[in-house]
Amino acid sequence: MKNLWILTWYTLREAMARKVFISFFIISILVLLVMGLIFGLSNNISLGVSGATHFENPIINVEMMIVSPLASLCLLLAIFSSSSFVPVMLEKGNIDLLLSKPVSRDQLLWAKFLGGILVVLLNISFLIFGIWLIISIKFSFWDFYFLNIIFSITFTFAVLYSLIVLLGVMTKSSTLGMMLAYFIFIILSPLLFLVEDKFNAFIKNKFLKDLIDAFYYFIPKTHELMGKVTVNLASGKAIDNYQPVLTSLVFLILTMGIAISIFRKKDF
């Protein structure tokens, strides 16, 4: 357990040493400054609706309008900045040293996985907490549910990151994992959701229908996690369908299981 913590901490340090994470923070600070400036200059914005329930409050819509594109941008940046953690660890001269220490291979891989998640959690928390603070001060509306976005983005990242870890172990390269994660997030997951949600009824061929279903349930549902699930969590509503969360969690467990199993037997 101690080794796991040491390795996770040093993954965090590795991230701090990279310019891309500083860029992440700079972008976050710029976003917060711009927001603060806009809200500071517009004195007459009043969105509070007296008598409205929490869910109907237009401030939540403002929050979501600001956060939705930012959350996607955060995720894209997070994937880019963390995709090389595993390949760098597996570089010749580095992995030899790590494996010569009394550390199990499982600990090494879990530490890279947890370290990556911790880094993203910190980055996302900084941005989301900043946005929340500005909006809350401006409108005197302290919507704590909004902070749930931190966990939904981090979870979505963890699911995609497990795939990056698996491909990193298999190919010792960051490119393939990063490209596949982007492909799932930007194209495949929204497309499968669209087909499943809108066009499934029109598909008559049973084999094709089953194939699309299988794909839909197997591929992580990042579109729904970042969309419906995040909106529900942020506005304090209950999640009406846990299927996207659970199937994505199964995907994460499966890919990490395969990654560990390969890593345990791999020659370096």
Binding site: I6, Y10, A17, K92, G93, D96, L97, L99
Partner: protein, 321 residues
């Protein structure tokens, strides 16, 4: 009798290409036994399988067949590594860390912590003469400095067994001497050192025994003395005129004048040696000095590798026929 630090039985490693079409036998049926408290030199040309063996012993790669034990434990038990130090060839440290931080990281992974670790870091940096570079980022280090830091890292946890892969690579002659002294000091502290090196003259100076590997096969193993002795050749200094010896004696011994009053001669065995000595004495020659001729480790290594290559080529030609 010393306990055994490293023991391998029929250790074999075959690398396969991605689709298993091409196989490379990196190590074949290696049986090795290295006692504790000794320095063992592992020699061989590039690609002989030296690093493969070290990686197998550290669980960095897995054997195709055979088994090995280190310090009485299995090679797949990662806990035994708390008693091991390792300096790999072309090691890579996180560039954003300072020398001191690198040692702290690896020290913590080896189970050290707190004041004990801090004290040990200072002690090791002092030993490899890197104290003044403790707070400098490793990305600013030269190759020689990286080797010194690597050596400090390998010794940090006070290991019982140390694997060193080309430890003097990139180090200047003075630094090499310092590293040699450190290794001798470690040996005096009853540490076992497994040394992979191309610098045969250095290996010759400090090792107790050596193994010579070529194309994954162990060609010879023994002490430096055993391996460098030319068993049948002697150098002799005599008083008296050798030219006066009977022709049959001169022909028998085949004396070669090596200058400064010394002659070299070859014999078949110890009995033959005594026969020639008796002949000399009977002919009035007084023997002042006699020493058995020796190869340098380098000469022996080159001749052994050439011999192995010629045998392999001959058998290849034979199989083509």
């Amino acid at each position: 009798m010393n306990a055994i630090a490293i023991e391998t039985t029929g250790l074999t490693k075959v690398y396969s290409s991605s689709f298993g079409k091409k196989k490379v036998e990196a190590l074949f049926d290696l049986n090795l036994s290295i006692p504790e408290g000794t320095i063992f030199g592992f020699l061989g040309p590039n690609g002989a399988g030296k690093t493969t063996l070290v990686k197998l012993l550290l669980g960095i790669i897995f054997p195709t067949s055979g088994s090995a034990k280190i310090l009485g434990g299995g090679i797949n038990d990662y806990r035994v590594k708390s008693k091991i130090g390792y300096l790999p060839e072309n090691h890579k440290y996180p560039a954003y860390l300072t020398g001191g931080e690198v040692l702290k990281f690896f020290g913590k992974l080896s189970g050290l912590d707190g004041i004990i670790l801090d004290k040990k870091i200072d002690e090791m940096l002092e030993l490899v003469q890197m104290t003044k570079w403790k707070k400098s980022k490793v990305k600013t280090y030269s190759k020689g400095m990286m080797q010194r830091l690597g050596l400090a890292q390998a010794m940090l946890n006070d290991p019982e067994l140390i694997y060193l892969d080309e430890p003097t690579d990139g180090v200047d002659p003075i630094g090499r001497k310092e590293i040699r002294d450190i290794l001798i000091d470690l040996k005096n502290k009853r540490k076992t050192i497994f040394l992979n090196s191309h610098l045969l003259s250095e290996v010759e100076l400090i090792t107790d025994s050596v193994g010579i590997l070529n194309k994954g096969m162990l060609l010879r193993e023994g002490t430096v003395k055993e391996l460098t002795e030319k068993k049948e050749e002697y150098k002799i200094s005599m008083e008296g005129n050798i030219e006066n010896l009977p022709a049959d004696v001169k022909r028998d011994a085949n004396f070669i004048n090596t200058g400064c009053g010394y002659y070299s001669f070859k014999v078949a065995d110890t009995q033959d040696l005594n026969r020639i000595l008796d002949l000399l004495r009977n002919n009035g020659i007084i023997i002042k000095e006699m020493v058995q001729q020796k190869n340098t480790l380098e000469e022996m290594f080159i001749s052994l590798i050439n011999e192995a290559e010629s045998t392999a080529n001959a058998s290849q030609k034979e199989s083509v026929k």
